[in-house]
């Protein structure tokens, strides 16, 4: 799953960097375009903008804020979509109730912060609650209809209808905001110059601490998952299961247990993401389908069943949404769908997906 660039690495037993080199050799123009784009973005971020450029492109402060918001939103999307893609990759189950798990996690986290007053502890609560729901779903329902993709998906659809209605019943339709804890509240200065005052003094970007912390946390989670998948026994089992779960089961591994673990983990991640979403924005009725769609688009763009793909897709979609809000107000949401359509047309398996 995680061989990012097709199966070159796996087939030839070559290292990861080798696969990257091979990819660049095969797509010199694509690599050049990507390199230029990266350099251009780095220049946009770190260099002070020339006079005329700001008139044409808008204020640098706005651009940098949109960029940072996009990256941190991408981190949130990654947390939601990675569970979705993991469940899909291993069990071929399109979990349409994933958005409901996100929302449920957010509400449970909200209740936990209200009761205990601890923001960090609420992550544990949300993870456990959603993991239990996920385990129950896998254990009581999906285990009984293995190999029936469509029926499983329809069941998750029915569950999502029920869950969202029940959550409206309990928590009502009003948006709920989870308070940022005091130690993360407020902005933090960053070493990025957004403007130069007439006195020649540089103005640095101040960015909300909590967003940066959550971005770092998402990166840490992503790296930890990569290590867990590639360096541990259970990770090896998951990767083997993604490739051929029947073979894994024949070899005597307890595939059902693995399914339950993965479902619990994916659901738990979605629940934790719910708290992140509740802190960033708010959680309310309708956010479940919003985040379900976001994970769908992220996973389609990045490649189905691929965790690096989910990271790349989340980054692209987060950025396109936030930059879209600034530069194409009326079509911000449509922009990310447009990206999806282009990716589907050119590379149906997703950017980092395998056929």
């Amino acid at each position: 799953m995680a061989t990012a660039f097709g199966d070159d690495g796996a087939v030839h037993g070559a290292g990861r960097s080798d696969a990257v080199v091979r990819w660049i050799e095969r797509h010199p123009i694509g690599a050049l375009i990507i390199a230029i784009a990266v350099i251009f973005v780095l220049w946009l971020v770190f260099a002070p903008w020339p006079e005329g450029f700001e008139d044409w492109f808008g204020k640098k402060r706005i651009f940098i804020n949109a960029l940072f918001n996009g990256i941190t939103l991408g981190a949130l999307y990654f947390l939601v979509a990675t569970g979705f893609t993991l469940i899909f990759g291993l069990m071929r189950n399109v979990n349409l109730a994933h958005g409901s798990l996100y929302l449920f996690g957010g509400y449970m986290g909200y209740e936990a912060t209200q009761w205990t007053g601890s923001w960090l502890f609420s992550y544990v609560i949300a993870f456990i609650c959603c993991a239990i729901v996920g385990m129950a779903m896998q254990f009581f329902i999906f285990r009984r209809m293995e190999g029936e993709d469509l029926r499983q998906t329809l069941v998750t659809l029915g569950l999502s209808i029920i869950f969202s209605d029940l959550m409206v019943w309990v928590w009502g339709g009003n948006p709920i905001q989870i308070d940022t804890p005091d130690y993360l509240a407020g902005p933090v200065p960053t070493p990025i110059v957004v403007a130069v005052r007439s006195s020649g003094e540089a103005v640095f970007l101040h960015y909300p601490t909590v967003r940066l912390v959550i971005f770092l946390a998402a990166v840490v989670i992503g790296i930890a998952m990569w290590i867990a998948l590639h360096r541990t026994r259970i990770g090896m089992m998951i990767r083997a299961g993604v490739d051929d779960r029947d073979m894994l089961s024949v070899l005597g591994y307890r595939v059902q247990l693995l399914f339950i673990i993965v479902f619990a983990f994916g659901a738990g991640l979605a629940g934790m993401a719910g708290i992140v979403g509740g802190t960033f924005q708010s959680i309310s009725l309708g956010e479940d389908s919003h985040f379900l769609l976001a994970s769908l688009v992220v996973v389609i763009v990045g490649g189905m069943g691929s965790i690096p793909g989910a990271a790349l897709g989340a980054l692209i979609i987060g950025l396109s949404e936030q930059i879209g809000v600034v530069y194409f107000q009326n079509y911000a949401t449509v922009l990310s769908f447009l990206i999806m359509v282009i990716v589907l047309a050119l590379r149906p398996q997703g950017l980092l997906g395998r056929r």
Binding site: R92, V94, L96, I141, E148, D149, L150, R151, T153, L154, V155, L157, G158, L159, S160, I161, I162, S164, D165, L166, V168, W169, S289, L293, L296, V297, V299, I300, M304, N330, Y331, A332, T333, V334, F337, L338, M340, V341, L344, A345, P348, Q349
Partner: protein, 353 residues
């Protein structure tokens, strides 16, 4: 399944005739239903005619297009409601509405073909995008496309009039008849619903439909025989889009309005619920699902309140019903019907001995 080349066609026709004879004897219930539907205006009041049966027939048509793709093509497309919605929007844009700034007020015989053409083009394009991937991916891609259109309609004011959408979209007057008055509209809807039903039934037994079912069952083998799998899939999407577009136009005439919330994610999903609850194995399924849905939608709220429950838990009821069907009768109401009728037949055979 008999996937035959053109030379074997006569055998297929014999089979079709035999099937038709067997169908008539087996499904006398459907014949009776047809008679009831034909003479319904004589016994039913306008509310029942328009808001129950008429609405169910229109929803059934749109769900039929989903059933055609899912049942015969194995492609569960959630974009069919969107195709219908685009046709409805185009009728409002090219025809008449309360918004002279956007509507072009072209006559209906120009607006209707254009609307069907545009909606059909969208449906075909959606098919072309999702037909390149397989199986369960289709649901994800078409759901994403459907919500893309929802957001586009919500955010675009110059064409789709954003949040508000269009109101006062008149059905045509021609041959001296106001086709929006309840009885003519009922017959208009009934005509297209029955037509689409029989066309789908016919196509499912025509060489194209059989090839499509072959593609559903084993695309690789069909490819090896020499069929163009992707072309068959896209053609199926185009055909289904035609039905959905006609349904969408009728729906917008019936509701007299269209807004982004007519094509929202919940509506798209409800359409899938309708098709699955009815059953995906026979074209009558979507219509059964639609009538159940419409009756629930119209009366469940009052019924829930009457038994002392919260009427707002309507969605939970729909979800639970859907879940029960999916868990216990994967073939929907048709599956239950077949199960029962075979049991009754078996009992009859036993008592006969």
């Amino acid at each position: 399944m008999a996937i035959t080349q053109a030379t074997d066609a006569p055998i297929g026709m014999d089979e079709a005739q035999r099937n038709a004879a067997a169908w008539l004897s087996n499904y006398s219930a459907i014949l009776l239903l047809g008679l009831v539907l034909l003479f319904l205006p004589a016994i039913a009041n306008n509310f029942f005619l328009d808001q129950i049966v008429g609405w169910a027939l229109i929803l059934g048509m749109i769900a039929l297009s989903l059933m055609f793709l899912a049942g015969y093509g194995g492609m569960v497309s959630l974009a069919q409601m969107t195709v219908a919605g685009i046709a409805g929007y185009m009728i409002a844009v090219f025809g008449a509405s309360s918004l002279p700034a956007i509507s072009l007020f072209w006559p209906w015989w120009v607006a209707v073909p254009i609307a069907i053409l545009i909606a059909g083009a969208f449906g075909t394009l959606a098919g072309a995008l999702s037909a390149r991937t397989e199986g369960i991916y289709t649901i994800m891609i078409t759901l994403a496309l459907a919500s893309a259109f929802f957001y586009l309609a919500l955010q675009n004011w110059p064409i789709f009039n954003g949040f508000n959408g269009f109101t006062t979209i008149p059905a045509p007057h021609f041959l001296g008849v106001n086709w929006r008055s309840p009885v003519p509209f009922y017959y208009l809807v009934l005509f297209f619903a029955v037509l689409s039903y029989f066309v789908v039934l016919y196509v499912s037994r025509a060489p194209f439909g059989l090839a499509l079912q072959g593609v559903r069952d084993n695309p690789r083998r069909m490819e090896a025989i020499g069929y163009n799998v992707t072309a068959h899939r896209i053609a199926a999407y185009a055909f289904a889009a035609l039905i959905a577009a006609i349904g969408g136009i009728l729906l917008v005439w019936q509701n007299n309005q269209i807004s982004p919330f007519s094509v929202g994610v919940d509506v798209v999903i409800n359409l899938l619920v309708i098709a699955v609850v009815g059953g995906l194995s026979h074209p009558i399924g979507p219509f059964i699902g639609a009538i159940i849905y419409v009756i629930l939608r119209t009366f469940a709220l009052d019924a829930l309140v009457a038994v002392g429950l919260d009427g707002r838990r309507f969605q939970t009821l729909i979800g639970l019903g859907f879940l029960v069907i999916v868990l216990f009768s994967p073939d929907g109401v048709i599956g239950i019907w077949r199960h029962w009728s075979s049991r009754i037949r078996a009992r009859g055979a036993r008592s006969g001995f």
